[in-house]
Each structure stands twice: as C-alpha cells, then as structure tokens.
C-alpha cells in the first residue's frame, strides 16, 4: 500500500534562479542543497507548511539521463509552458495573489471563482505553470 509522496520533481532551467523564485518569492524552505561534483547540485525545497514533502528542483542539463537532444527538447517545452507541475493551496487566494504579484510573479490566470473555490495560475522562472487554489471549506 502506497502511503505518501516524499519526493517530487520539477524540471528547471537554472537552479540559482529557481532557488530565488521558490525560496524568496514563494516562501518555500530549503531542505537540501548539496554539491554533487562537476557543477551538479541536489537542491530540494519544501512548501512552508509541508516540511515532509521534498520538491527537487532538477536541472535540465546534459549528463545522466539527459543527452544534448533531450536537453534541447525539454528546454523548448518548459519555456513554452507545456508542463503543469502542481496544484498549490493557500488559505486566502486573493491575499496570496496580491503578495506574489508584488514580488513580480507572473500570473496566467487571475483569481477566478470555480465550483470548488477560487483558482489562479502562475508560472515559475523557467516556464512551468502551477495552479494556486483556495478550496471551499
């Protein structure tokens, strides 16, 4: 029986920039930031109130499972906004939207009433998009 997700992965195009976005703009916490040699880096962050879920900010770069062609394809698709990476929730969408907007986070969908609550869409510094939801109590 599967019980939990402990690690999940978001493909990013620059780990320094992703660090700034997820930590300084979204307010996530750094869980692990370990050098893996030859410029590689294992970087995971956790949502502010979910310290047990590590989100790996996985660099799309040549080496390991990525050859040059895969890197080019992934880079194009990420920049194009192909990948929806997660649904985040918050207590108050309008306040969170105002805060993130003031930190220059780009929204693709303004806060909108849906049958389950409210939803907005934003993109990260690479181009991955996320739903930000406030569900009905």
């Amino acid at each position: 029986m599967i019980t939990k997700i402990t690690h999940t992965c978001i493909y990013v195009l620059n780990q320094d920039s992703a660090y700034d976005f997820y930590v300084n703009k979204l307010g996530f916490k750094v869980h692990t930031d370990a050098p893996m040699g030859e410029g590689a880096r294992w970087l995971t962050v956790t949502p502010p109130q979910q310290p047990e879920l590590e989100i790996t900010l996985f660099l799309v770069a040549e080496g390991g499972m990525f050859d040059k062609e895969t890197v080019q394809t992934m880079t194009t698709l990420i920049k194009k906004g192909t990948f929806g990476a997660a649904v985040f929730t918050c207590k108050d969408l309008l306040a969170t939207y105002e805060e993130l907007k003031s930190k220059e986070v780009v929204f693709k969908k303004l806060p909108t009433k849906e049958f389950y609550g409210f939803e907005a869409l934003f993109i990260d510094d690479s181009g991955n998009w996320f739903s930000l939801a406030q569900t009905n109590p």
Partner: protein, 139 residues
Amino acid sequence: MEQYEKIYLYKRIVRAKLFIDDHYSDNIDLDNISDQAHFSKFHFIRLFKSIYGSTPNNYLIKVRMDKAKILLAKGHSVLETSNMVGFDSPTSFTGMFKKISGQTPSTFQREQDFKRNAMQSNPLLFVPNCFAETHGWTK
C-alpha cells in the same frame, strides 16, 4: 464597488504582512504595523488573523524564528542571530526559540552543522538512489 473595497482592503493587509517580512529585524510593534496598514489596531488584528491564520504579533515571532534558523544554520553565533532578528537580549531570544522550536539555538545549530558537514562529505546520503543512479552520481 464592494469588490474594489475588498481588494483595497486586501492590498493594505498584504502590505502590512510584507512590512513584517522586510522589517522583522527592527524594533517594530503592533502600532507600527497597524499604522502601516492605516487601520485601527483592533480591526487590523481581526483582518490579519482572518487572512493569515495568526495574529500580526505571532506572525512576527514566526518570521523572526524562521530567519533565526537560517542564520544559525549559516554559522552566526546566538548573540549575532539574536540581534539580527530584532531581540534585545540573547536570553529572551533563546527562551522564545526554545518555546517555539522545542530546542535551544545552540542545539539547533549543532544539528545543522552536522547536517551541513554530512552534505559536503557524503551528499549521496540525501539523494534517493533512483535519482543518483540516473545522474551517474553513484559511479
């Protein structure tokens, strides 16, 4: 019209929250914060709590403790950290840190030092093997 008023209200509360985020190291109190949002203290506390789930004062403490953890993990002394997160004395800082975190700043720092050293000397301890293998980090 009502919608515009609501958005305006939200902007002011968010501005106050960001004020705390930016000025946690200063000697700010509730009056500073409610002034920043142009509210009466009572109205401000009620609205802030309805949006963020804690009072402005408790939120300020939380921000200070979160920042303190980052500073301690980077190797700042307890005294330095205490000053840098807006406490008048290391004693009151240590008391608050222990109350919130369940351990003293020194103990927390020792644990973080241990983790940081382990990350440097044996980073594979922190990476699930499937990721390490696909990256060729296990060879």
